[in-house]
Symmetry: none
Subunit: 229 residues, 4 copies
DNA sequence: GATGAATGAGGATTCATTCAT
DNA sequence: AATGAATGAATCCTCATTCAT
């Protein structure tokens, strides 16, 4: 108060501005997801927020920037969610499993973000790289380092780690969309287990049964066929 | 001539109509992909085809139907491409591999179809199920039957075949988008090999080395870590 | 008709297009003048014409171009009106007088064009040179040639002709605006006479009375004051 | 201090208010002239002044009034500039010449005022009479009186003085705009001389050469043509 | 059949003005 | 007094669709 005595006029309230920015982004994300980008007038967003349209434009100069900021915010929250879940364990293989579970769970809880990813690409083809992939590139390094360590320890097959992150990344990305567009028919936990099973063990039978000593029991036995020839 | 003598006036040239329909759809697909659905006026499509706008409307009653027909056509062509490639071999495992290669190659050759899939979802959220998934549901049965046979023969692990088609389907779907949006950095052939390797073998090491007798050499050995206790 | 048989579809009617273009421009000129550029929505122009707004936009891609085309049209009509009137006489001095009369009469009959000139400058400051001055530059040469001839003949004082066209041009330009903005209180014919009197004779008294042998009697005598000293 | 001791609280600083009013008007005039009335947000004026938008509104209740006050101020300054220059001489003919020089010089130094005059008319068609003409009407009387005196003295031709002020007024008004819109190609002094020459002497030749005894040498001789007949 | 002229609902954005602090 | 956050009326232009020729 005393320090502000010099200032004339209404002071800028940074707190309020940040809070309102977040509110606007959350509402916008929800509405864009529900109605699609072209069908969502800025007026609609303002109405939902009980604000004037001009106020929304004070925070985001164009509808486009509002949208892209909403996507960015979504990616930040994904990152936070994954990190929180990964921190729960120290075992690297478990960390991978946790990350995948967290990733699937995040989009399950925030289906609107999936819509935004689709819409970003559909409406803003010009933008160099979609937000999702910028985010992915920024985070992939840590997983490759972790995989490299596991390869050294002989727990993961000795193949280039990029190959693994590519395949697993694409698998998650595809799952994300399929769940959202076609509907998921199993529980999130089951789905995560099924994916991890195949990623960890593959689908082909081995001459010798697998007995791993890890927490999860993976690698189901094969049918008698293996005995045939 | 002789056979046509009965017909009075100008015969309806069904051939012409079908050919023009196809031309319109191909051009529309290209333009929608390049410019996005909202930015592609029907006028633009007509101009590119050197037709009047009204003529395009004679073939497709609305812009929406034009777009959806273009997607449908894309899916049909995907189906044809996969079937042709699968027919080249009799071995079921190889058929799976061929199908995946054909799928990836198709979208590599027709990136515009990828765009259409995205745009369909972004612009027509209301539609029950995206064309891609209708197509997928219509064709998944044959692959599940094939997998069931392989399971019986002991060549594939005894896990529910839906689990496999779900994971593999999602993986391909995700790969498709990633290739298109983020750019693919390896050759198509390499990518197919990497995916098949992980899908067939998984990423974890086995106590005992794998020696499979198939054409492709999969399942790289593990580092010395495998010798540890 | 026969020649057109090859053409498919509705033929372009160039006649109609040109007529309608002119209609739109006249209406637009009237409305812009009455209401001002910013207050004249394209919708208003369309309404007055009993056309859809989109139709107006078919002829003029932006409101700005519509406006500027209206100004151009005005200048063309001014040019035509002046030329027609000048052609009525062969005497060069009378041609000058006729041109000035035609100029004043034109803007008297078309006050809306005066408004457009003002508005062009006010709303489109960026444009290199106002339409009026482009028109002026394009036509000034012929008057300078004519004045040069009169100078040679000893009918006009031997001063640079540019000086004369500058002063007379500015005088007309100013008269134009004053008439329109402040209202003219005398008849057009009187005004033309007064202007010509001063331009031809100046305002100062001469030591010796002037007796010119031309059609118009100019150069009123001075008061006895000239006899004073 | 001592004199102010009676006053309680902060004295209303009339000085400050008047100074700030003038500052705002000058800045507004400059910006309106540069950018045009519609393109000049009140925010822009406030920014340039490093004031809050609300503060500008404390001094001028609407944007319109701000603009009109700027024009009024411009006219006042014109009046002052002309009067100062006229006071330099006692000879009435020279006073007329000085007034014309001062007028042209003023607008040469303050081109922004020319823009304001244009814009006033373009944006506020409804206003009865433009500020310029109100100013003109308020000052024209003194010049007419002066001319009447000169007519009596036989120095100016015996024609109605209104006729002279009309023509000279229009000439100056037109010159003002032409200089500003099309650019002036001669020096201010040359221009004034050329105008005065024609206003004082006209453009036509006289049977007998003119020898005036005034300070300025006006009325160039005519070519031999005068000797012809 | 083929065409393109005509239409007008719809939507992003601006900015003068108000008023709480 | 001074400020700037908030507002929403206002406006230009687009483009899917219709239909006369």
């Amino acid at each position: 108060m005393t320090a502000d005595r010099m200032r004339r006029g209404r002071p800028k309230d940074k707190q309020l501005a940040a809070r309102r920015r977040a509110e606007i982004l959350d509402t916008a994300a929800k509405l864009f997801a529900e109605r699609g980008y072209p069908n969502t007038d800025v007026q609609v967003v303002a109405d939902e927020l009980r604000l004037g349209k001009g106020t929304v434009y004070r925070y985001f100069p164009t509808k486009r920037e509002l949208f892209l900021a909403a996507v960015d915010r979504g990616m930040s929250r994904l990152h936070d969610a994954v990190e929180a879940r990964v921190a729960e364990t120290d075992d690297p293989v478990q960390q991978i499993a946790q990350a995948m579970r967290a990733y699937l769970a995040f989009f399950d809880n925030h289906p609107e973000i999936v819509e935004l990813l689709i819409q970003e690409r559909a409406e803003f083809k010009d933008r160099k790289k979609p937000t999702y992939f910028e985010h992915r590139d920024a985070n992939i390094g840590r997983w490759q380092a972790l995989l490299r360590r596991l390869t050294e320890e002989g727990r993961v097959r000795d193949i280039p780690v990029e190959r693994i992150t590519d395949v697993v990344g694409d698998l998650l990305y595809g799952t994300l969309f399929t769940n959202h567009f076609a509907g998921r028919r199993k529980s999130l936990e089951e789905q995560a287990r099924d994916i991890l099973d195949i990623v960890f063990e593959g689908i082909l039978c081995r001459p010798n049964p697998v007995h791993d000593g890890q927490g999860e029991t993976l690698g189901t036995q094969c049918k008698t066929g293996s005995e045939k020839p």
